[in-house]
Symmetry: C2
Subunit: 371 residues, 2 copies
Amino acid sequence: MSLYAVIMAGGVGSRFWPRSRRSHPKQFLDVFGDASLIQNTFARLQPLVEPENVLVVTNADYVGKTQAHLPAVPESNHLGEPVARNTAPCTALAAAKLIAEDPEATMIVLPADHLIGDVSRFQEVLQAAVDAAQTETASGGHPLVTIGIRPTHPETGYGYIQFDADGDTDGIADDLGMTPTAHRVLTFAEKPDRATAERFLDAGDFLWNSGMFIWRADAVLAAFERYLPKVHRLFSPLAEAFGTEREEAAIADAYERSPKISIDYGILEQADDVLVVPGAFGWSDVGDWRAVHELAAKDAAGNRAEGNVILQDTARSFARSADGRLLVLVGVTDASVVDTGDAVLVCDREQAQKVKDVVDFLSVHGMDEYV
Amino acid sequence: MSLYAVIMAGGVGSRFWPRSRRSHPKQFLDVFGDASLIQNTFARLQPLVEPENVLVVTNADYVGKTQAHLPAVPESNHLGEPVARNTAPCTALAAAKLIAEDPEATMIVLPADHLIGDVSRFQEVLQAAVDAAQTETASGGHPLVTIGIRPTHPETGYGYIQFDADGDTDGIADDLGMTPTAHRVLTFAEKPDRATAERFLDAGDFLWNSGMFIWRADAVLAAFERYLPKVHRLFSPLAEAFGTEREEAAIADAYERSPKISIDYGILEQADDVLVVPGAFGWSDVGDWRAVHELAAKDAAGNRAEGNVILQDTARSFARSADGRLLVLVGVTDASVVDTGDAVLVCDREQAQKVKDVVDFLSVHGMDEYV
């Protein structure tokens, strides 16, 4: 009944352009401090999960990179996806590998590129989620558990989870210092508009969907069998292929034939026994440059400068220079300016999401050297 | 009675940073089109002034550059100033050189770094100013003549000249198609505040001070003798030094001992016989990046992009990339973004004047590689 972690590291994080590139995605960037996001993700799993019990699932092109960033994780634990198929196939792959090694495995599934401020509180919440995932349900199975973040503002960029608060939406266990507890999930809500997000915030029984999941491998495979039978049929036979000559080809074949579907949509929104442990530990998915600016330490004018930067009459802005090049902002407000040597982005803080469109544009127009 | 031109090319134009540098000032930049500003200044003097009748007065460090940009001007006509002493000493130097060659010389003095849209109209206005400068006054001397620009908006960045309109401030000769005529100058006004500038614009008898002057060398030297006797005493003896071994040392000595003073303040505001020829020919001193943006051809959103630039949801902005580096603006309004390889400037359009402060900051802080 060992504990495993699956770090999902397949994305590019294109809203982090020009720092993120196809050849150097967001999870490998040192956005905060000296370590990369994936290194921080790995580090805060200690001491809950042994390094040899960590799996990394990433794009096949990035396996060399994840191995270099996480040398403590055994080489064969870095699994490469030949094509991107969203999070459900990735989870099925990891579950198949873990169940082959440990029929009672409990797995923590989490994205490689999030930020967590209060690591000890995170670990307490995670431990509560693990305990909940290992507790037998009335029907003799085990629940699927997720971590929900107590919202601090009416964010429209996240999905929400409504949970059964039993009438108590104020003093529940997400508050620091209290013991975190699992609650029954009522609904998953898509990214809301502003008015809906405000309603969610006021209601008190809505949490941000963190994309972090905890379950026994056999429980999630049973859920796959019921709700995504095709994915189950493709991936569960892989259990016998790991560590054999067939491994790579078998994985490639399963991915090739798999639908593209998220674990949230494909499994969690369908399943009955879904629990959520509310947490408040300074979490962000660090989705774009605006988020980086918000999370970084700033000066009195609300500016964050990294590298060879001069700011004059500038406020609420983020500026990062590269290669020692001098970056000067004069009279600028609410901007993100990011220089990477071959490219410079100047972006309104509130329009940081649109950076993804620029990357799409570059890709469509064959400007691959910048993508 | 030949016609000469004196191109003043001593400044750095630091509000054009990061393109302008101490080692590569504004007048040598190709701000508009393929030719440098000084080359355009020289070209629009043709056919009024023979190339061998053009003098260039510049910083001693830039003589090699002015010679390279204006190879048609004889080498010995490029005069280097050992120290900057503003425009009065520069004018006295040029007048002393010209009078030694031609006692009846008429000289056009003009800055190297201005923009003029309608060159033929400019030449008509210039010819009228030359004619006025060569007409004897009642007292037997010759007037000092300047060119005044009919203001198009209440600009606070220029000095103004009030002229004697004889009650006719609407249909005077600055309008295109009419014969330009010289008018008596009443007053010179410093850069005004906004309200004053609006009053000047409404009054109809105020013009922008263009910094372009036309006079006989003997007339301006007589004015120096009366209003700036010290400068006269230092510079008029140079007439005998040009072309001799003493030239460089004599010039250095005169500059060393000269006060710093402008021709406007030192002579024109004091003298009696000062005339102005009003002109309207699309003039700008192209003082900063805002002016460049205003004068450049723009797209429907008011943007001007030069080089490898992508604009998304961007308006009223100027963006220039360097060395093929990609520059991307997302959701930006009213900005000037200028990349020069070693430095990137992001500046609010309305705060372009402050770029000079940045250059001062760089200089004070020993960041000479960027100055």
